[in-house]
């Protein structure tokens, strides 16, 4: 099963008013891989994610999940078939304890359809998920009110929210943004662990150094179009990619810190 195409995007285009956010973007996602999507600001990365996950309806193009056409489906339907996403701006249900934030996905039709999903103590399940994600149970972290948690934990909470849905694909929208180097370092093994357990992951990132340690393949977007694809080394060496990030006539490229 690993290695087959699980998600296929064909010629996705979207304009907002006069602004061309994405233009004819196509890509394929293989089961079990971690795909990176990078590009300078404004290149259409978040719009692409919104198009795939149903938060924005495309003007043209199609999205296929396991060869099933999901173009134009509503966001909750797309989450229901197993594509979960994080949000760039993390807004937890702030007045609630951290673990209560997971009650919503645990009550979704998707979970209820799964064996054992209807019964059982959801609170306990939520706390278990949080513990796996790194919320130390002994320190009562899962019980803390969400608004009091530092950003590193909130990003993990976002991930936990996705995991509660038992998805097949997780799309992380700049999950490293706002975190310190050490916080990112502690997050990386978690994502590796998810991949080892069979999760397929798309990561949109600006923090390229950390990203390149995780991903197999990278796709580069610029100005709403797909610019390049390859392994991390190939992409970094690509002239066009450097130009997109740093502007033309730039001789020295950096290792990718945008």
């Amino acid at each position: 099963m690993a290695g087959e195409t699980i998600l296929r995007v064909e010629n996705l285009s979207k304009s907002f008013g006069g602004v061309r956010a994405t233009k004819d973007i196509s890509l394929e996602l293989n089961s079990g891989e971690i795909l990176g999507i990078i590009g300078p600001n404004g290149s259409g990365k978040t719009t692409l994610i919104n198009l795939i996950t149903g938060f924005v309806k495309p003007d043209n193009g199609n999205v296929f999940f396991r060869e099933k056409r999901i173009t134009g489906w509503d966001a909750s339907r797309i989450a229901d078939i197993g594509i979960a996403r994080t949000f760039q701006v993390v807004r937890p249900y702030h007045s609630l304890p951290a673990f209560k934030n997971l009650i919503v996905p645990l009550n979704s039709p998707r979970i209820k359809r799964m064996p054992g999903g209807r019964s059982g103590d959801r609170d306990a399940v939520a706390i278990d998920i949080l513990e796996e994600i790194g919320f130390e149970r002994d320190a009562f972290v899962p019980y803390k009110i969400a608004s009091t948690l530092p950003l590193g934990y909130l990003k993990r909470l976002e991930l936990a929210r996705c995991l509660s849905l038992k998805p097949e694909v997780i799309i992380c929208d700049e999950i490293f943004s706002g975190l310190s180097a050490s916080e990112i370092t502690s997050l990386v093994p978690l994502i590796e662990k998810l991949q080892m357990e069979g999760m397929t992951i798309i990561m949109i990132e600006h923090r390229l150094r950390e990203l390149f340690r995780l991903v197999g393949r990278v796709i580069v977007l610029a100005f709403g179009e797909r610019l390049a694809e390859g392994t991390a080394e190939e992409v970094v060496a690509d002239e066009r990619v450097r130009e997109a990030y740093l502007g033309p006539e730039s001789d020295e490229g950096e290792e990718g810190e945008a």
């Binding site: 978040t46 919104n50 938060f55 924005v56 309806k57 949000f87």
Partner: protein
Amino acid sequence: MNIIFYGVVNSVSFALVAMGFTLVYGVSRLPNFAHGALYVLVGFLTWSFANDFNLPYPLAILISLCLSAVIGAVIYRLVLIRLRGLPTSEIIASFAFGLIILEGLRLQGIGGFKGFIGPFYVLPPFIDAKIRLFGVLMDVQRLLIVGVGLALVLLLWLFTHYTKIGLSLRAIAQDEQAAMMLGVDSDRVAMVSLAIGSALAGLAGVMVLPLGNVTAEAGYRVLINALAVCIIGGLGSWAGALLASSVLGFAMIISTSLFGALWESVVLVGTIILILIFKPSGLLGKQKELEERV
């Protein structure tokens, strides 16, 4: 032929009434439930100035319009400004203001204030005559409504495209954060928009009320009509409001001639529900449902 003329007049009346509301909502995302109240208030004020104070009619109109603009600005400055960003409170407060004015006009016997009850209040039309156009007998007042309405649309277009204040209104309407970064004061703009919106409500009142009586109950009707136009056209969309006014205007006239005037409300409700089912964001609505807030 009849239908075309009365349809046009009706459409423009709807548009007149809806314009102020669309302006305020488009600029500050505030549904001004006091809109209908201001429409009627200006009617009563004008009547009062003309009859109780014996001012010349045009002067009465002018003063009332200015007053309504001031009232609009005051409502914003005193209350709504403290509630920006709290959608629940904004809506409730604007609703409460609308009711205060509308029900307040019906008060009796408080400190000698005799309320405005009963169908006794009539505003004279500007020119009390009828002329014959293409075989249709028409009040000049109705033609004036069309004229003023079209002129107003043009004026507003020019205002929002060529004057500094008008441009700042459009800026805030399109992207509040960006406009603020460029130095536009969001609160001042909101106050201006509420003032203009209130004046527009008053203007609509002054133009349309002479066709009948001035009653406080009309305030609710007018508010509902304005809301209906905005929902059908798309909240915040100017072109949508104009289009919706035409649709509604003609629909009502056609239904009146076919089924009689009683079915007006049914047509209104039906159109609203149809739009909400088939094109929820309105005929020309720009924002698609919940999409724009990712």
